[in-house]
Symmetry: C2
Subunit: 704 residues, 2 copies
């Protein structure tokens, strides 16, 4: 809005700053991603090495105590951070970011302390052996970094304050956070293109091609940063971290050749994967509802819940491998077998030399290593059917009950783990019928689960491609994703959409619901409409601001300023507060726009960061000032978007959503009536609100 | 609009049909892509084999005559098709598709005969040795197939006619064509994900996430079809076609390790590539303007121009290798050296045994093979500096003068060729300073040229990734693309945008121009406004339709139907024509909506395909009917999108563009005036139009 007053220098500043911020977001997120990786690998590595060394000395109870103790300590740390410091940091974070980018303003989601808890909570959670991932937290972390940079640090840090005024609006802030989300995925999976696509497909609600370029730049920075650190660590300077390149699960050595029966197997895999995926969503939803009852009772109960899940996970990981028998190592093998170290494909558990325990190879390692083992090709016989079945059931169950406890927890890794074990299970089962490597089946299984839960297509495809570096599988992966998404869409919505809805965030869907076509805009306008006249009494404004929670008010010009009452525009609550604080009041009811304009600069009305706005209570209006008048014209947006009251609600909803509006004025069709019918806001367009007013359109309503 | 009248069965039909069409588009485009490939490889292969065999018998003049003669025959065939059958098929086709998806209705672009010419013209052109590619034509072909399927064949083919009525609207048709464009890229480069991203980044103007999924499905089908055919051809059943897998230029064997000096080299490469790229655009623009003068003089001159360019190309390809000396084959080589066949890295030209001619290895082969040779890794010394320089200059020049002649010609391959030779040139030059393989330099050079001309980022990145299967290069490729795009953006616009502008297509940019912020909506409304009253005289309508070319007219309700003149809505020219054809006229001026509604079905007003609409001349209105009245209310859209006249033009332009409108009504702010100020259309928002009205805002205007 204030663009037209900007000079060329200011525009240049703006552009430079925009790119600098994108660069900083990339650097910051890359750094955090690397730090996260490093910390997790080292903590989890030492934990596993210690457990292993105790087991080698046959002190099994000590080993379990050490293992479970480490896990529990980490779990308590993570849970305490979440419960006491920043409850908003629990969970994945992707639903919150998605809702924010849809226009839901909930500042605490992206506050600095959330960032802090998210980073450390995620490290503790992942290192603590939970079946959680770090990609959701990384997305949230990236978004927090972007938000923090966009508002120039948290009040204290005033270095670039003056320049940053350009970013005090919804659009620029959203753009930055989109970059942050993309950077998060790029850092978590080392998948720069996948990150861009994730931001495009799942996170962002509005997309411009300029944004594509900016997110691309950010993720490129992340990739360069990560690569630099990985190169640095190859010398062994980073403790237990230091293997693995830019590609996390490289399976490029396998050359897939497939025939028609394989294709049928793959289709079946996709169908079943879709069913399991939607079942996963259903169960996660149920578990979340249960947990929310427990979590509401206070932080102590939250921590107790986390400890319980941690104990259960430790028991599963340590106890279940005892059920499996020792298997002799395959003869012709390049890798060491059995391995006693932190990671490796063939784990010595309790086995004699040259034997390994296949269930331990999956359970007693980090999640990343378990995925790597499942994806490994050329080892068709490594895991037994019963092993895979046990692991699949355990991980599927643990994944479901772990999401929702008070630690930062990503959903990608649990889903990939469950999907990969399921795929490998199917692959081993079909071993004799199919030419496909079981490692490839594991990848396809992971794809089918991801498609079934997340319901993304292109981004998952590219992320999997970047994770595994296996371009030749692309057609099969695409096929599986399409099938599993289609199947799962028959049952319920994607897991992130479900969580958004569960959290009660007013998320605007891109398409209008069918029943909206049978309603018109004026049907859903709610509440008593509060309007101001062009020159309004101060007391009146204060009273209205106190008793309502609306953020926008229509301004009506009345005689003597115009011949008949006529719509002047829309004024925002935040602008009114700034105006009142300025105290440019007049005794008479006159227009004194020029005077007010001199008093304020455009920046005074910029959108404040979280918690920085003027509060109603801070205003110190004297009694005599209450009877004075103030001219609202200078701060009124005189050309708000309007629709005629008879416009189909579907059309109005699409207008609202496409333009990213916060208020949409509904004007009357005929002239004899007052010049405004009402205001549509985000809440008026929510299905719950509309179906509450018109229950006859509810598709799930029971017929009387 | 007529959704609300649809039953559940109809919606089911619609959904099934939508996916069936996407499937058919994928199948069709995949088939055409494979056929194109097959034909080109066979025609060009036999041509080269024949030339080679003559040369082996030392009949050099015969060989040249055969080579140039073949090329010329193919060139004449392609040019004749373009000049006489479908002039719209000349050129790349991507700009036209882009404009169509932006909302520019130009039916001839996607007509069946364009499709026919595009397919065969492209085969002849590419096989005829021109420096042209097939990806632009493939995109156009895919879009034509989509358009054709969407309107159910060309009038004759009425099989699915009834079902297809659902697709007679702008949105569904655009969606189908977007799928077609994605399928085209997928088929041309065997790059399914790249195709989706191309459609997203370059082709489409409006994007919904549902579309992402649909294009993804389409390109998956293309990938499966192509893979099936390639498997089929591996047995040698397809003549000279049959090598190569799904990845066209596989360089996966090279493992890049790079250090800081390499990074500097890469940055330099990007900067120079960006400059060359924008220079390419500038020169193409100049050449196109020159050619358009020649091409306007009739088809004969078009063909002459094509023949001239063909001769020049033949001379270059056959003549320049004579300048190069024979080089002894490297000792430790797996490939045969020299090769006498159709393709191969080391071409025997006139050389003694165990020697090869490096310039002939690039010139006397198909464009695809030349790229493969340039990208090949582990052969640092294969091409001499002078060879690469000669090839680069020749290809850069030929590429520029070839685009714009009357054959279907893609821009990707020429740009990749020039970029790859430039990159390899730099790589060979820096050979001693850098650890990077020269083949990787060639890829980076191609990326820098693509970034510099096309100005896409993510899609080029993914296309290159899918072309070369080299994930480890990703950070470097991203870096080069960003740099070259940034550099090139300082000079001019992307090549497709330039061509769109050159062709005078009214393309709406996504962002508003800065000067639009200083104007309001009513400033640019043009022309005398023609309105109808709610019940209008037939003669009046006919007269207005004859004298104006507007497509939409505001309808005003006047007394006695309303108290004061008031805006009723907007009526479309095409709907008026249908109404007039129906001849439901009344003697008196009364409203008889119900009567008219009974007479017409919603489908009668569906948007007709190309050339199928009712023409004004076809109406047979009698003299006495001219004095009768017709009620416009049933066909009036009573809730068109409106803006207040004082709304900033920038805001109005964004509204127009985001919602994909064709008409935007401008209503007055005050009530005393007539109820409508004007209509904004696409043409009113063109910079040329606005700057014509307000030259003071023109940034390029000379100060007086």
């Amino acid at each position: 809005q204030d663009w037209r007053s900007r000079t060329k220098v200011e525009i240049f500043q703006y552009v430079v700053l925009k790119w600098t911020l994108a660069l900083l977001i990339g650097l910051g997120t890359g750094l955090v991603g690397f730090f996260n990786n490093l910390a997790v690998e080292n903590i989890a590595g030492f934990k596993l090495l210690f457990t292993n060394s105790l087991m080698l000395r046959e002190k099994y109870y000590h080993a379990f105590a050490a293992y479970a103790g480490c896990n529990m300590a980490l779990a308590i740390a993570a849970a305490a951070l979440c419960a006491y410091v920043a409850p908003a940091a629990a969970g994945s974070g992707i639903p919150e970011v998605k809702a924010y980018l849809n226009g839901v303003d909930a500042p605490s989601i992206l506050a600095p302390k959330t960032l802090f808890v998210k980073i450390f909570g995620s490290i503790f959670g992942v290192a603590g052996g939970f079946v959680v991932g770090k990609e959701g937290p990384m997305v949230h972390t990236g978004s927090c970094i972007a938000f923090l940079l966009g508002q120039g640090g948290s009040r204290k840090y005033r270095l670039t304050w003056k320049w940053l005024r350009y970013f005090k609006n919804d659009r620029d802030r959203r753009d930055l956070i989109t970059c942050g989300a993309a950077a998060g995925v790029a850092a978590a999976f080392r998948a720069p293109v996948g990150g861009v696509l994730f931001a495009l497909e799942e996170a962002a609600s509005w997309w411009r091609s300029a944004l594509l370029w900016r997110t691309f730049f950010t993720t490129a920075v992340v990739a360069v940063v990560l690569r630099g650190f990985i190169d640095f660590c190859h010398g062994g300077k980073c403790g237990l971290f230091g293997e693995g390149g830019l590609i996390m699960f490289d399976v490029n050595s396998a050359k897939p050749t497939y025939s028609t029966p394989d294709l049928l197997a793959v289709i079946l895999l996709g169908v079943i994967g879709g069913i399991f995926g939607s079942l996963y969503n259903y169960l996660v939803d149920k578990v979340l509802r249960t947990y929310s009852i427990i979590n509401e009772r206070g932080p102590i109960l939250k921590i107790v819940l986390v400890v319980a899940i941690s104990l259960l996970t430790s028991c599963c990981s340590y106890g279940l491998p005892w059920l499996s028998q020792c298997i002799p190592c395959p003869a012709d093998l390049g890798d060491p077998c059995p391995t006693v170290g932190r990671s490796g494909n063939y784990k010595n558990f309790l086995c004699p030399p040259n034997h390994y325990n296949d269930l331990a190879s999956l359970f007693l390692t980090t999640n990343d290593d378990a995925i790597r083992n499942l994806f490994s090709s050329g080892s068709d016989k490594e895991f037994q059917l019963t092993t895979l079945l046990t692991f699949f059931v355990a991980i599927y169950g643990l994944g479901i009950i772990t999401y929702g406890i008070a630690i930062p927890s990503g959903l990608f890794i649990p889903v990939i783990l469950a999907g990969a074990s399921y795929g490998r299970l199917v692959g081993t089962f079909l071993g004799s019928f199919s030419y496909l490597d079981t490692g490839l089946f594991a990848i396809l299984g992971a794809a089918s689960f991801l498609g079934g839960t997340m319901r993304m297509t292109v981004s998952i495809c590219v992320i999997l491609l970047e994770l595994t570096n296996d371009l030749l599988m692309l057609p099969l992966v695409m096929l599986v994703l399409l099938i599993s998404k289609t199947v799962a869409d028959c049952f319920n919505k994607g897991v992130y959409d479900q969580i958004v809805k569960l959290k009660g965030l007013p998320y605007l869907e891109a398409h209008a619901e069918p029943y909206m076509r049978n309603l018109v805009a004026s049907d859903v306008v709610s509440g008593p409409l509060v309007t101001f006249s062009g020159v309004e009494k101060v007391g009146n404004i204060l009273r209205v601001l106190k008793i309502t929670k609306h953020n926008g008010f229509p301004v009506i010009d009345e005689p003597p300023f115009s011949a008949a009452p006529q719509l002047c525009g829309l004024v925002l609550r935040s602008h009114l507060l700034v105006l009142l604080k300025g105290k440019k009041f007049t005794k008479q009811r006159v227009r004194d726009a020029s005077d007010i304009m001199r008093r304020f600069k455009a920046n005074d009305f910029a959108k404040p960061g979280s918690g920085k706005g003027i509060q109603l209570g801070n205003l110190d209006i004297k009694e005599e000032e209450m009877e004075m008048y103030v001219d609202l014209h200078p701060i009124t947006n005189t050309s708000p978007h309007t629709v005629v009251e008879t416009m189909s609600l579907a059309k109005a909803a699409i207008l609202f959503r496409e333009l990213g509006l916060r208020h949409l004025l509904v004007v009357p069709k005929t002239l004899e009536r007052p010049p405004i019918v009402g205001i549509l806001t985000r809440h008026d367009l929510m299905p719950e609100h509309i179906l509450g007013l018109y229950p006859q359109f509810d598709p799930h309503r029971k017929k009387p």
